[in-house]
Every structure is written in structure tokens, then in C-alpha cells.
């Protein structure tokens, strides 16, 4: 395989503001390769966003970060804010969920893009304007010259997200991180934006990271999927493999809980009870054990390590799905809801 563009190793993030320290990310390791699409999936509080923000230095000072994150050979962890700023935008860019909160409402969208262009490159104002219009065209915004002069409120949600992508692409980053970038959008708009991201990725040869709570979305657009639970990676596999050979019971629970068009109406969704654990008081052993229908005694005493059990497929579970043990694969849930 080619050399990794971003290599994260044993990343730890602990928040210690006030009460007990909260271990938001615990020993996360992964690599992103040039041109690859990697999805990081998890529920609220799983650490998916925090682990990414730690890499690009967008966490508040209450966060204690350790571990390693190298981007093209440069160690990012431990850099000062000023040093990191040279990488943000130029090497790594991010697109967030809510474009309305990221755009300046009192400024026309064109100049906001031009500003992003000039932030990293010494180009003249007229040249920056030209580049901004090119960027609007790149993200398939019709009539880019006219849109350049418009304010964010004059654009639809999908158009605003395209503008955010244009800003993110201003310096041709090598890695684009989309953090729930389509969550607030309608399904048809979401499909348009995902299509745009994949096209741009191919055009520009970028690596793409999708941070999402939506396993279906992530797995249908990504090459590789990482599933996080309570600050740890619990399963990682190529997207196509995850659907056919899911191993970690948590991933299986996520997959089964998604309403599917093929399911008959009114059929109860197999769901697990409980909620993700309190990150300031994690249980001993596997964090998922209290909610897991396959959990045995060993799960409650020893934490299963994340190991590559099959080529390209890592999971952290003592009793994985589809490998004997208690309860067979695809065993229906109790169907209850607690």
C-alpha cells in the first residue's frame, strides 16, 4: 500500500473541566491514504468528532491530548496554534454540519471564499475573486458570478453547504474532513452533496474523511468504515465487508436499528436497551458489555483489544457475531424497547 497521508496512533483525549475527567477518546489509531474515503461512525458522545478535532487542533484548552498524528511526515500533536494554522486549510480542511453558523451572515458569500483563498496564498484581490468564482463553479453552483454577490440567507441549505465546501477547497487540501456535513440536509440534497464530494475527491485526488452518525450513509459512500463506541474504535473494515460480515455486536445493533425499505411495515426493529456509558465512569472490561446480548463473564472483566482478526478487518470483541459462541449470527433481538 502507498504511504498514509494521515496516520493517527494511540490518540487519547481527556477533558478535565471541573468534575471527574472525561475520557472522550481512548487509544484511537487509524490511517487515511491518498484518494481514500474513510468514514468514522458513532452515536453522540462516541468520540468520533473529538478524535478528528484533536488532530486538527480545534479542541478547547481543557482537552489534554496525547498520542501521535502525522500528516505527510509532520507530527501535528503538540504543535502550537500558529504552526497548526499553516496546515489547516492548506493541507487539511473541514466542512461542518451547520453552514449557517459557519458563514458570516453580513458578508456576501463570494468575498468569504476569496478571503479563504488569500488566507494561505499571496494573491491579488482580483485574482482571488477569479479563484472564488472558479471554486463556486467547481462545487457546481449555477451562475457563479451572480451567486458571488449574494448573502448566505439568499441561498438554500444545500447551496450554503456547497459554499462551505468551496471555502474548504480554496487551498486545494489533501485531506477534507466532512463532519456530519449532510446531516441537516434533505435526502435528495444529501445525495447531491455526497455525489459532489466524491466527484471532487476524484478530480482533486483528495483523501476524504466522513464523520457521521449514519452508518448507512457512511458505508454506502466510503471505502473504509471505522465504528466508534465510548471513545474507542470497536470495528474497522472495508465498507462492503461491514454489511456482509459484521463482527462487533454493537455494529450489528446499529445496522439492525436502521429502518429499511425492504422490511415489512410494522415489524418491530431489533433494538438494544440502555444508553452509552458515562465517559467519566466507564465500566470495567468492554464498554459495550452492559448492553450486549452476547456478553459473557470475560467481557465484564477484561477489555477486548482491537485486533486484525481477518485481513483488513479489525474488531474489539471476545464473542464476535458469526463466530460461534452464545447466540448465532443474525439472532433477532428481544424486540423490546426499554
Amino acid at each position: 500500500m502507498t504511504e498514509a497521508l494521515l496516520q493517527v496512533e494511540d490518540l487519547q483525549v481527556t477533558f478535565s473541566g471541573g468534575g471527574r475527567p472525561v475520557r472522550a477518546v481512548d487509544g484511537v489509531s487509524y490511517s487515511v491514504y491518498p484518494g481514500q474515503t474513510l468514514a468514522i461512525v458513532g452515536e453522540s458522545g462516541s468520540g468520533k468528532t473529538v478524535s478528528c478535532r484533536a488532530v486538527v487542533g480545534l479542541l478547547p484548552p481543557t482537552a489534554a491530548i496525547s498520542g501521535s498524528a502525522t500528516f505527510g511526515g509532520t507530527q501535528l500533536i503538540g504543535l502550537t496554534d500558529e504552526q497548526l494554522r499553516r496546515h489547516r486549510g492548506a493541507d487539511i480542511a473541514m466542512v461542518f454540519q451547520d453552514p449557517t453558523r459557519s458563514l458570516n451572515p453580513t458578508m456576501r458569500v463570494g468575498p468569504q471564499i476569496a478571503e479563504a483563498v488569500r488566507a494561505h496564498r499571496p494573491v491579488s484581490k482580483p485574482r482571488a475573486r477569479e479563484q472564488a468564482i472558479d471554486l463556486l463553479r467547481l462545487v457546481r453552483i449555477p451562475l457563479p458570478e451572480r451567486r458571488f454577490e449574494e448573502y448566505p440567507h439568499q441561498l438554500s441549505g444545500g447551496m450554503r453547504q456547497r459554499v462551505m465546501i468551496a471555502i474548504a477547497l480554496a487551498c486545494r487540501p489533501r485531506l477534507l474532513i466532512a463532519d456530519e456535513a449532510t446531516t441537516a440536509l434533505d435526502v435528495t440534497t444529501q445525495a447531491q452533496i455526497m455525489e459532489l464530494l466524491l466527484e471532487l475527491q476524484a478530480e482533486l485526488g483528495m483523501a476524504l474523511m466522513l464523520i457521521s452518525h449514519d452508518l448507512a450513509l457512511a458505508a454506502s459512500y466510503a471505502d473504509e468504515v471505522i465504528v466508534m463506541y465510548a471513545g474507542r474504535i470497536v470495528e474497522q473494515a472495508p465498507a462492503s465487508r461491514l454489511f456482509s460480515r459484521v463482527r462487533m455486536p454493537y455494529t450489528q445493533a446499529l445496522l439492525e436499528a436502521i429502518p429499511r425499505l425492504e422490511h415489512p411495515a410494522h415489524a418491530p426493529l431489533p433494538v438494544i436497551g440502555g444508553r452509552p456509558p458515562d465517559l467519566s465512569a466507564l465500566p470495567v472490561g468492554c464498554s459495550f458489555a452492559p448492553r450486549c446480548r452476547r456478553a459473557a463473564d470475560d467481557c465484564r472483566t477484561t477489555e477486548p483489544p482491537l485486533t486484525e482478526h481477518e485481513p483488513g478487518h479489525r474488531w474489539a470483541c471476545w464473542h464476535p457475531v458469526g463466530q460461534g459462541g452464545s447466540g448465532g449470527p443474525g439472532q433477532p433481538g428481544n424486540g423490546g424497547e426499554k
Binding site: 452515536e43 441549505g157 447551496m159 435528495t188 445525495a191 448507512a216 444508553r275 423490546g336
Partner: protein, 346 residues
């Protein structure tokens, strides 16, 4: 559905808003029925008018025109106490549970409120009913009863909102995106709760959401809404497998594929994604409102608004060139339209 009388009949419902920019045609002549113990799902995107429709059904605010007949009474003609007396049988669940729960009140107080408002029973009876309803939605009255909204998770708060809605034993629950702010596992729990309440309490639902798979999961029949009008109505399974409207096709093509082994979307699949954005409801297109984005649109679509017509039993579509005709009859022109209209029994 069944031969029974509909519980709710909405006819030619119109709702317009007057703004500085012009008149917003939020809902433009929508008609449908909800039968006893039936769930009618309405799927639509932002700006389709689905939330306005939900509120107009409950007369909050009142629609511009049209009728909303509940158990034989037209709600649009009722006022004051008479409207309130009927309204107790129709309750609503919103997307954001925290937005509909007073942050200063305890859960017990919140669930008792509708009972107090309708002067139901005495204090002891109300207390008992609150316990009953909290248990019904999967909350422990002793544990959760004394909590305030900020001490609840999103899923628990939505359960409280549902408990409030069912406290008065309504016949119909109008749900507007009731699970879209919840994580997938919590979402599944709440969907299962809706199903359980449906069977245990014999409830009917008007279930509104943007996610077609989710709507189909809970619904007997599904209606697809676009820019203030219904495009297609039919049994959920039929709308999915034998869909007729090009917009329904576009919605289906936008749903991420999660069948085992699906993996990354193939380029040919991507190209099917519909382009453009819905036009403004202030100045909707003439004729068919979907025609500006429709791959099948012809001159007729701009000139004439397609009427809702039943092409198969219980399956109706508002389209001049529905998809099934293209498969059956290659030309798919107005001639084919006339043929199938005479074929289709209403």
C-alpha cells in the same frame, strides 16, 4: 384499506402565508383519509409543506380553506369549547421534545397538564393516570417522575412528550418528524414504542417525516408530498415496489443502499441522483409542480396540472406520465394516459 368510515378526512386543504416577499403556497389542495387503527405516513422534504399540513389538521393555525373532518365533524367550522372538546382526541408529537416541554416543570407535572386542562378526574385519578401513562411509554414514575426536562436524554424527553400526547386517550396522533433528532438506536426504540401504542391503544397515526424508509416502516399507507401537493398515495409496499411518480423515484434513489455487500455507490447509481432544488413555494411552477426537475416532463406538464387518479387499487398518482405506463406502453403519451384512466377503477 378497510371499508370502515375514515377517522379523519382532509379535503382540498389549502394553507397560505402572507409574507413581504409574497404569498407562500405552503399547502395547495391536499386531500387524504386516515382510517381507524391505520397509520398514514407522509414523506416530504424541507419546504414540502408537510409540517404546515400537520398543524392545519389540528387547526393550529387554521387552514386558509378546505375541510378537516374528524369523526363526521368538520373541525374548520368549530370554535371555542366545541373545538377543544374534539381536539382532545387528536394529539401531536413534535420533532424537538425539549422545545415542547417547559424546562421548569417536572415530568409528572408535564404529563398531568393535559389531564388538568381538560378537568379529567380528581387529583387521585390523575395521579394514577400519570403513573399508568409513564409506565406505558417505558418510564419509571418513581425515578423519572420527579425529573425536569434537562435531566432527561433526548429519547426520554420524547417519551415524556408521547406520554403527554396519549394521556387523554386520543384516537389520532399526529407526529411531525418525531424521531429525527434521535440517535439511530434510540430512534428504533421510540419507533417500536409507537408500534406498541398502536396495537395496545388502537391508535391511528398521521406520521410525517422526510425519510422514506422510516415512514414506510411505520405506515400502512404512504403519501409523498412535494411543494404543497401530494404526488402519490398508496400502500407502503406498493409505493416502494411499484412506484408511479418520478419524484418518488428520485426520493428512493437518494436513500443510501444498505443491502449486504452494497458497499460504495457505483458511478451509474450516483448519476441517478436528482439535480436542482425545489422551486420557491411563493411562485410555484404552473401545471405539475415537479416538472422543473422531472426527467419526464413535457409541454403538457406545464400547461395542465395532473389530477390525482387511481391507477391500481388504492394506489393513486398525480402525474401525466407515471412510471408504470412507460413500462407498459412505450409511447407513454396522453393517449396512454386516457387508456389507463378508463382502466383504473376508483
Amino acid at each position: 384499506m378497510t371499508a370502515a368510515e375514515p377517522l379523519l378526512s382532509v379535503r382540498d386543504l389549502v394553507h397560505q402565508f402572507h409574507t413581504n416577499a409574497g404569498v407562500v403556497q405552503a399547502v395547495s389542495g391536499v386531500s387524504f383519509d386516515v382510517y381507524p387503527r391505520e397509520t398514514l405516513g407522509i414523506v416530504g422534504e424541507t419546504g414540502s409543506g408537510k409540517s404546515t399540513l400537520a398543524r392545519a389538521v389540528l387547526q393550529a393555525p387554521r387552514p386558509t380553506s378546505g375541510s378537516v373532518i374528524f369523526r363526521g365533524t368538520d373541525l374548520t367550522t368549530l370554535h371555542g369549547t366545541r373545538l377543544l372538546q374534539v381536539r382532545r382526541h387528536l394529539q401531536m408529537v413534535f420533532q424537538d421534545p425539549f422545545g415542547s416541554l417547559d424546562p421548569k416543570w417536572t415530568v409528572r407535572h408535564l404529563v398531568a397538564e393535559p389531564l388538568v386542562a381538560y378537568r379529567t378526574g380528581d387529583r387521585t385519578a390523575r395521579r394514577q393516570r400519570v403513573d399508568e401513562v409513564l409506565e406505558l411509554v417505558g418510564l419509571d414514575p418513581a425515578v423519572h417522575g420527579r425529573r425536569r426536562p434537562r435531566e432527561l436524554s433526548g429519547g426520554q424527553a420524547q417519551r415524556v412528550a408521547i406520554a403527554r400526547a396519549v394521556a387523554l386517550s386520543p384516537a389520532l396522533l399526529v407526529c411531525d418528524e418525531p424521531v429525527s433528532s434521535l440517535d439511530v438506536l434510540i430512534q428504533a426504540q421510540v419507533l417500536n414504542l409507537f408500534e406498541r401504542l398502536r396495537t395496545e391503544l388502537g391508535l391511528s397515526y398521521l406520521f410525517i417525516a422526510h425519510d422514506l424508509a422510516l415512514v414506510k416502516q411505520v405506515s400502512d399507507r404512504v403519501a409523498v408530498m412535494y411543494l404543497g401537493k401530494l404526488c402519490e398515495v398508496g400502500p407502503g409496499e406498493t409505493v416502494y415496489r411499484e412506484l408511479l411518480h418520478p419524484y418518488t423515484r428520485a426520493l428512493l434513489d437518494s436513500v443510501p443502499d444498505t443491502t449486504p455487500g452494497a458497499g460504495r455507490a457505483a458511478p451509474d447509481q450516483i448519476s441517478k441522483v436528482i439535480s436542482g432544488e425545489p422551486p420557491s413555494p411563493i411562485d410555484p411552477p404552473s401545471g405539475c409542480r415537479f416538472r422543473t426537475r422531472c426527467p419526464r416532463a413535457a409541454e403538457l406538464c406545464a400547461a395542465e396540472e395532473p389530477p390525482m387518479r387511481e391507477l391500481a387499487s388504492g394506489h393513486a398518482v398525480a402525474c401525466h406520465f407515471p412510471l408504470v405506463e412507460a413500462a407498459a406502453k412505450q409511447e407513454g403519451g396522453p393517449a396512454a394516459r386516457a387508456t389507463s384512466r378508463s382502466d383504473g377503477k376508483i
